[in-house]
Amino acid sequence: MSIEVSNLSFRYGDIRALDGVSFKLGEGAVGLLGPNGAGKSTLLRILLGFLSPEKGEGTVLGYDIRREQAAIRRAIGYMPEDDCFIAGMDAVTYTAYFGELSGMPRQEAMKRAHEVLFYVGLEESRYRLLDTYSAGMKQRLKMAQALVHDPKLLFLDEPTANLDPQGRVEVLELIGDVASHKDIQVLLSSHILADIETLCASVVILNKGKLAAEGRLEDLRTVDYSLFEVRVKGEDGAFRRDLEALKCRVEETEDRLIKVYMPAGMDRGEIFRAASRTGVQVRQFVKSQTKLEDLFAQVVGVD
């Protein structure tokens, strides 16, 4: 297990940021999801050792989060959400500097800095002062400093924030490449569900400091409910109420497509029986692939 936490709790004064969170993360890229104030950043900060948990235990790559923080920080790479650079430095010096602080010999750090800057696409501007970098270049630079010491686990906090669409695609490709081919595990915290869906096989969803859902995306999509998209002819109000009475969650889009979230184990024939009971005609019936957005709405309880 790369990360294992048990009953993790933390509070900022009277505000409880994490409340008894427990999960185990295995291999590959994992998405950390949740609305604002859900506790994502607090969780990352506890895993990095910036904050000490009020209660609970945990390990990162087998190292205890309370007692072996130095070993954890040596083994992980962290790409923070905020812009962070050192004024008056160029990218090579900056990247090598943090490699050295991670425990690399000076010459090795410098050599490696060139390699990772090539990898993240900053080869042309690696001698430019960081003060002159654009938002996209700063994101890449943060990625370079996180990768310079060849970490086993990478924490990425909102890696595509403040990027234009093209920059976002490029950074996602980079993360995808690291996560899929380089034997580096990635924990990706993001508000952008599409990013997580593109890159991650598993997710941890936090809500109000508690664990709302955790596991492989495929399993979460299928185990808890099935999603059907239905179009009917006739007055659909009674039809929808009938389905809701059967414990289905029903949503209707602007173009009158009805999304039916059916609890696990329920027979799909119930939709046709409800239609028959309420006198509507089913014109379209498709079993839909649930999106992360649907899952998120389902577990967090927001539309």
Binding site: Y12, L48, F50, L51, A70, C84, M89, S102, E108, Y119
Partner: protein, 292 residues
């Protein structure tokens, strides 16, 4: 022959080691960045002027026969003794240049990291708060000691060379300790003083002004209080950073203090600034800004 690699990610085949001095890269980088600043090299070079003048004075004192005509045939005009070394280290010009060096090399040490959110990247490394602070302090140690302790020792050696005997060592066997002790007081005080002010703002230009102004204002305040009838007294010197340093220097060099106040008070005031700085630094320096 080295392998020609394609552009792409490669694992690093080295081994990460726990450093014996994890603060050293911070210090080295801080020193390099200081020399990249526009006016710093000139200010720093000017810091050696008092040492050069003092060296000339030592030479003249030992070759007085050659220079008698310059001084109208007077006998012992310059005496090289502990007071001479104390005067070199407490020279107003030298202390002023040290403050200017701190303005250029020290003001941004923490302020820039706060402004550019760099602390979280530092502390995502196997680095403790003490390592970070020691790394930053050592930048100031480097510059201040290079302008005080190093020239003082060089002057001491030249005094022996010019004199051609070890009589000076025999006469003042404790002098080097006094030099080292006062240089240490000066260095530690200015390190805490600068980092305290640097940690209080995210704007390094603002910190530059404050570092300079607080030092100068304390001296001006002393002058004002001293000139007001009724407030005038030896204790008024305690409001001035420079006068407190003079008091401490007099104690360490075994000289009569310039003000009729026990030098222990000056030690206490300088130590209080250091303690206040340590408290502020402990609160401000953390990997994450926690807003409660």
């Amino acid at each position: 022959m080295a392998t020609i690699r394609e552009k792409g990610y490669y694992h690093w085949d080295g081994r990460l080691e726990a450093r014996r001095f994890p603060w050293w890269p911070i210090t080295r980088t801080g020193i390099q960045l200081a020399f990249k600043k526009k006016w710093f090299k000139f200010v720093f070079a000017a810091g050696f002027a008092p040492a050069v003048v003092t060296l000339v004075l030592i030479y003249i004192s030992e070759r007085l026969e050659d220079f008698k005509s310059m001084f109208g045939g007077k006998g012992q005009l310059i005496t090289v003794n502990p007071k001479f070394f104390m005067d070199f280290l407490t020279n107003g010009g030298l202390v002023f240049i040290i403050v200017m060096v701190l303005v250029f090399a020290g003001a941004g040490l923490i302020a820039d990291d706060l402004k550019h959110n760099s602390l979280q990247v530092y502390f995502a490394r196997p680095l403790r708060k003490n390592d970070y602070l020691l790394g930053k302090m050592a930048v100031i140690f480097f510059f201040v000691l290079l302008l005080t302790l190093v020239p003082a020792i060089v002057l001491y050696i030249f005094k022996l060379i010019f004199a051609g005997s070890f009589r000076f060592v025999v006469d003042y066997p404790w002098l080097l300790l006094s030099v080292a002790g006062f240089s240490a007081v000066l260095t530690v005080f200015f390190a805490f003083y600068t980092l305290l002010l640097s940690a209080l703002s995210k704007n390094s230009r603002y910190v530059m002004i404050i570092v300079f102004t607080v030092y100068l204002f304390s001296q001006i305040l002393y002058g004002i209080i001293n000139s007001i009838r009724g407030l005038h007294g030896p204790g008024t010197a305690l409001v001035s950073i420079y006068e407190n340093l003079l008091q401490v220097a007099a104690f360490l060099f075994g000289q009569k203090p310039p003000h009729a106040v026990h030098p222990g008070w000056s030690f206490l005031i300088l130590a209080a600034v250091c303690v206040a700085s340590a408290v502020v630094l402990n609160r401000k320096i953390r990997g994450v800004e926690v807003i409660r």
